[in-house]
Symmetry: C2
Subunit: 381 residues, 2 copies
């Protein structure tokens, strides 16, 4: 058989064919009116998805570069901050803060456990002078989605700024920056923005801009003031990844045509069908409050979780994601963000059934598909 | 007429058609053996072009991010450094050093003026405790190429490290890192590496690695130790710009097949034909020691230099580059690096002739073409 490759990971995600084709067009210069127009339309599209009236900046970097930009532009050495660490990416906030000499209180949660706005409020009250709270919209390592709206209610009453990693979440689940009182929002190109990796996006609230003015952490490449001055001239301080920006413009056209509400509904339906399928297999979801971006599923106790992922990836070529260290093997992750459709969910569940059958797990073949199909059928409008 | 667009700028540069097409292929995941193989072949190709046995690292960023990586990984706050500033990009070394609190002595040269190894030696001797010397192989703002080999002879006798911006030069002119005693070499994807912008490349000598161990400047995204640990596992610390890496692999295949010596000869011939053409128009080259990467040409005194560039760019759609601030209008730049051929030089000269004629400059039409053709003809083997 021809063993086709199916990309079902939470980043990179599949890219629409017309968007892929755009990268094959000859390169144009970035200091031209032609590129400036595309560039400005792209930043407008990012503002739309971010739900903000503020400027959105396009950085040529991975999402991690965007996270670093959030920190170095708003804080000063020794500043006291709180980082909510519910998994690999929440942990990264703390690691960057420590690398830059901030005094970081990490709230380490068991992977998959929720964290409420009341718990956050208690943490902030316990510690005077907190300058920033770092949170994650969708924790890609666990599939958990946090109450960012609630965090905004709590943090906006204090002098601290709320900094949110929306790398996998923005575009798949609602996260209106201005309405939810988010002060710095970061995202990346390779998740729900539906293009290859290489660009990060960031925006700052008026409260965060005040911090930018007094921030004393060293920065150059990620300097927001330089980015702002250049955006006023419809350009970037450094040569941007031109072909990726052009691709992003094309993907944003698709997103805008569909509209955010429909896009969120799409991902909700994909997530509900995935969860229904998983339930039919008597498997358990990891996250206490699972999001619609990806679904992390606990490995059945009798099975070798590392092997299960390997069988799905290598034998069936369905590239789902395993669990990251230190939880390798304990669960696996099926993504349904970005340019994924109903039959990508079906593919993931079917590859899972085949792998489970190979490994001697007892279940009714096709059962997860039937459960997922019922959800798809109800919603296929 | 159909007014075709010709990209003749010193970055971005034209991308070979087969390399453009590679970006239209579906995205594969970066944590797969399939991508790891491409990634490692790409780093091997960069090592080949860099002329080094050391590891080469691929950063998802503009070249400026690579320059920042060179600084934050090898130095500590307050370190005394020397930066040779012969134009916009030499100036950038000084600006990044200052942003990171280094004690930077800038050697500000008149744009286009050369700087010798003896002058550098005198500067180093005048100031004890210099930790690093920052130089530029090819100063993209002026077309000057500096004696990096000589700088290596001088700096290697001291405790300082030699850090070289090879962003536009590497791949178009010889710059063997190990042989020339360069301690940190930086380049970028959108120049002679013949792909779109978005990746930066960097390598460290054993002497530079010792500095990495003791460096106390803050860093996270550009951390070389993290990059090295991940390279040992055939991967990157953060999600790389997958599609650009795949394109880089394809371009490096072309470069390796041709071989570096032939590639340098190619660019030498393009540069000589350009200079011959410029001479035939009685125009003057800006750089005291012009390189083979781009040719900066002084605007004839009677003409408006900003308008000349605008006529070439807008009317004839030959996208050459103007001079950057504070020298706007004083000269213009014709590039012949990367994927440029003999008839790109002819196009640039012809568009120049047409623009000069429009503006009333007196010369023999076709004269520059004839001069360039003679060089091309002699070398067309």
């Amino acid at each position: 058989m021809i063993k086709k490759y199916y990309l079902l990971s939470p980043g990179p995600t599949p890219v629409p064919e017309a968007v892929l084709a755009a990268a094959a067009e000859p390169i144009i210069h970035h200091r031209t009116p032609e590129f400036s127009r595309i560039f400005m339309e792209t930043t407008e599209g990012i503002k739309y998805v971010f739900g903000t009236k503020e400027d959105a900046f396009i950085l040529t970097s991975s999402g991690t570069g965007g996270m670093e930009a959030a920190i170095v532009n708003t804080l000063s050495p020794g500043d006291k901050v709180i980082a909510i660490n519910g998994g690999k990416f929440g942990e990264r906030w703390g690691n960057i803060c420590k690398a830059y000499g901030l005094s970081c209180k990490e709230i380490v949660l068991e992977w998959g456990r929720d964290f409420t706005k009341d718990e956050l409020e208690a943490e902030i009250k316990a510690d005077s002078g907190v300058k920033a709270v770092f949170a994650t919209l969708s924790e890609t390592s666990t599939g958990a989605v946090y109450d960012v709206r609630g965090f905004g209610e709590v943090v906006s009453k204090t002098d601290a700024i709320l900094v949110v990693d929306g790398i996998s979440g923005v575009g798949a689940t609602a996260c209106p920056m201005d309405e939810w009182n988010i002060d710095v929002l970061v995202s990346g190109s390779q998740k729900s923005f539906m293009i290859p990796p290489g660009l990060a996006y960031i925006a700052f609230s008026p409260k965060a801009w005040k911090r930018v003015e007094t921030s004393r952490l060293p920065k150059f490449y990620f300097d927001a003031v330089k980015a702002k001055k250049n955006l006023e001239k419809r350009t970037t301080p450094w040569t941007p990844a031109i072909s990726l920006v052009i691709q992003q413009k094309k993907s944003l056209d698709i997103i805008k045509e569909m509209g955010l509400e429909k896009l969120y509904a799409h991902h909700r339906i994909l997530a509900e069908s995935t969860r229904a399928g998983i339930g039919a297999l008597n498997l358990e979801i990891l996250a206490q409050k699972p999001g619609n971006i990806l679904t992390a599923v606990k490995t059945p106790p009798a099975l070798d979780g590392v092997k299960l992922v390997k069988v799905m990836q290598d034998k069936y070529r369905a590239y789902i994601a395993g669990a990251q260290d230190p939880n390798k093997g304990k669960f696996f992750r099926i993504a349904h963000l970005g340019y994924m459709g109903a039959f990508d969910v079906i593919t993931a569940l079917s590859a899972l059934e085949l792998a489970l059958a190979d490994m001697g797990y007892h279940f009714e073949m096709g059962g997860s598909i039937k459960a997922a199909e019922n959800i798809i059928k109800e919603n296929w409008t």
